[in-house]
Subunit: 272 residues, 3 copies
C-alpha cells in the first residue's frame, strides 16, 4: 500500500472528472488532498482537449444529463486512445432505467480499468437492467461475513467477464481483478451519513490507479484502504457536538495528512 | 414537534431533489443529518423513475435552466400520481420574470403540499408577476412584531386560496394551512450570512412532511423550528475566529445531533 | 486598502455570478463573508433580469458549457449597458481550445473591467490561442523575484493593450492598470491545495471593484491582499490533523472576521 501511495504523491497525476454537481467540490478537494490534481469538464467540445492534458479519467453518472453522455463517450474514447485508465462510478444504476442503460453503454463502448460502486449498483450491471426497483431494493443483501464467500465469487466472475477491476464498497469492501480479491475492513458506518464518500473514493481511486499503471489492483485496493482509514482517523478527531458536516472535513483532512507509512500500518485487509 | 421528528428519524424517507447547483451539497448533507436520504436528478429522462422510488419531492428553482422545467413538471406529475408530497422553493421569484413565471406555472400544473420562501418571494407569487423589481425591493417590509397581525392574515389568505401550506421564513417565521398559523421565533440573524440555509430548510422540510403525511402543518413547522434551533445551537459552539463557513458546518452538525426531546424543548413558537 | 474594504462592507453590492459548478458554493459564501451578496444564474432567459438587479458581474469559465456562453454574452452586454463592472476569470484558458476561444470572444465582445487569472491563463490570452499545451505547460515560468521586472512589463503591456485591469495571482501577485502595478506578497503556498481559491478571489474581487468604481485598481489589489491575508490568518488557526478541507473553511472565516484595519495592517505590497 505504501508503495502505491508514495508513487501517487510523487507523480501528482492530473485527473479529468466528469462527475455529478452534488459532490464535485469534495471530489476536487480529496484529489488535491491525496496528491492528485483535478480538472472538471463535461462539455462535448471541451472534453477531448482536457483529457489529452490529463493522465486519467473519472466518469461518475450521478445527476446524469443526456447531454453529458456524449461528453463521457468522447472523453473515454480519447482516454482509451491515449492509454489513460478510466474509472466508472455507476451512481444510481438500478435506480432508473436511464442510469442503468447509460452505465451499460459506457461499459460496452469504453475500455474501463475499474468499475467502483455499491453492491446494488454492481449487481444491477452484472445482472442486466430492469430487475431492480430502487437504490437498494431487489438486490441481494450487503456483503457480510456470512455471505462473503459467495460475494467474492460473484465479483471475481464479473471482473473476469468484463476484464475490468471491480471494486464494491460497503461495510466490507471487495476489490478484485478476477484472480485475487482484496477483502477490506477499514472504514466506519457513519461515513454513510455524508453525501459523496463514494464519489470521493472514485476520484481518489482514479488518481491511485493512474499513478500505478503496473499495479492497478493494488492501487485500487490501497485507495479503498486509504478512504476507510481516513474515516477512522477523522472519526477519532470528532468532538462533542460535531456531526456529518464536520466529519466530511475531517476525512478529507485525514487524507491530506496521510503518509505511505500511516496507510501501510492502518490498512486492514486480506487477499482471497 | 417531538413526534414529527421521531417519525422522520424512524421512517428515513427518500427525498428526490431538483435543486440548484449552488447549495445542493449542503441540502444533501442536511437531509442525511435529519434522518432522510437524498437523491438528486433533474434530467427529463431520469426524473420519473427516480421520483417513483422516492417518498417525497423537493423542487427548488435557484439556478433554474429552461431544460429543467420539463423535468420538474414530469417529476411533479408522477409524484402527484403517487401521492408523494411536493414542496416548492421559489428561489428568486420576483428577481426575474423567468423565475416568477416558472414558479407560477409549477403552482398551476402541480398539486403542491408546501410552498416555502422568504416574504418577497411569497408576496410575488401571491400578487402575480411583474410587480417587483428585485429580490427584496417593492415588496412590503419583512415580518415584524409590528405588522405581524397583517402578515398572518396575508399568509392565511394565500394558503386558503392555493390550498397549500405556506411557510414564510425570516426573523419571524410563519407556517400556515389557512386556519392555524405557527409563529416561530427560533434562529439567528447570522444564518443569513450563509448561502443556502433556506434551500437546506426546504430539503429538510420535505423530509419532515413526507414522514408525517397526516400532520403536515405540524411537520412543516417542526422543520422550521429545527432549523432555527440548529442555528442557535451551532452559534453557541462558535469560537473566536470562526465565521460563516464554520457556522454552516455547525448548523448541519446540530441537526445531526438533534433529538425529538431537544427539538421539543428548544422550539419557540405560538399558534395563532 | 482600508477605505476600499470599508466601502464594500458599507454598500453590500449584489453580485451576479456565472461560474463553474465545482466551487460555486465557496464563491457564494466568501461573497457573503466579505459583505457582498451573491446571485447565481446562467440561463439565457434569466441573466438579463438578474444582472439588472445586481451591481456587478463575475464571469468564470470553469466547467464551461456551450449553452452558457450565450448567457455570459447577454449578461455582459446588459451589464455594459448599465455600467456595471465585469470581471472575467478565464479558468483553463490554454488547457483547451474551447476555453481559450471563449475567453478571447468574451474579451472581444464585452467591455471588461478586470481579468483575473494565473500566469498561464493570462499568457495564453495575451499571446493568442493555440500556443499552450496544458494548464501550466509551454508558458513562461511563474512570477518570481528573478523575473519580476519582465513580468511587470508584460502585465502592464497587456493591460494597456486591452484597456483592462489585469490581475495575475500566484506566489507573487501582480495587479495593474497599465501604469501602476501592485506587487503583492500575501498568501501561502498551501492555498493551492484547496480547490477554488482563485474562483473565490474572483467573486470577492468583483464585489471590491463594484463597491469602488472610482478606485478599481486599488480595490482589485485590496481583494488580492484580503485573500492572501485570509490565507495567512486561516493557516495560523490550523491545528494538528487539520488539512485542506478545514483550511478552506478557515480562509472564508478569516474574510468574515476581517476589518479594514486588519487588512490595512496585514497587506504586504509595493507599487511599481
Amino acid at each position: 500500500m505504501k508503495r502505491q501511495f508514495d508513487l501517487l504523491r510523487k507523480t501528482m497525476p492530473l485527473i479529468h472528472n466528469i462527475t455529478n454537481y452534488v459532490t464535485v467540490n469534495d471530489v476536487a478537494n480529496i484529489l488535491l488532498a491525496c496528491g492528485g490534481s483535478p480538472i472538471m469538464s463535461d462539455e462535448v467540445e471541451d472534453v477531448e482537449d482536457i483529457t489529452s492534458i490529463c493522465n486519467g479519467l473519472n466518469i461518475n453518472i450521478g445527476t446524469l444529463h443526456k447531454s453529458s453522455i456524449e461528453g463521457m463517450l468522447r472523453a473515454g474514447k480519447k482516454a482509451n486512445d491515449l492509454h489513460h485508465p478510466i474509472l466508472l462510478d455507476p451512481v444510481g444504476a438500478g435506480a432508473s432505467k436511464f442510469r442503468t442503460e447509460t452505465a451499460l453503454r459506457l461499459m460496452q463502448e469504453l475500455n474501463l480499468a475499474v468499475i467502483r460502486g455499491n453492491i446494488s449498483e454492481i449487481k444491477t450491471l452484472a445482472l442486466g437492467s430492469g430487475t431492480t426497483k430502487g437504490v437498494d431494493a431487489d438486490v441481494s443483501d450487503a456483503v457480510t461475513e456470512e455471505n462473503l464467500e459467495q460475494a467474492i465469487e460473484f465479483v471475481k466472475a464479473f471482473s473476469k467477464k468484463t476484464g475490468t477491476i471491480i471494486a464494491v464498497t460497503g461495510r466490507i469492501d471487495l476489490v478484485t481483478d478476477g484472480n485475487r480479491c482484496y477483502v477490506i475492513r477499514n472504514g466506519r458506518p457513519e461515513m454513510g451519513k455524508i453525501t459523496g464518500t463514494g464519489c470521493q473514493l472514485s476520484g481518489m481511486m482514479t488518481a491511485f490507479i493512474t499513478a500505478n499503471p503496473d499495479e492497478m489492483l493494488e492501487a485500487a485496493a490501497a485507495a479503498v484502504c486509504a478512504m476507510g482509514l481516513a474515516g477512522e482517523i477523522g472519526w477519532s478527531r470528532m468532538q462533542t457536538g460535531d456531526g456529518n458536516a464536520t466529519y466530511r472535513n475531517r476525512i478529507i483532512d485525514a487524507i491530506y495528512n496521510m503518509t505511505g507509512d500511516i496507510l501501510e500500518k492502518g490498512a486492514n485487509y486480506e487477499i482471497r
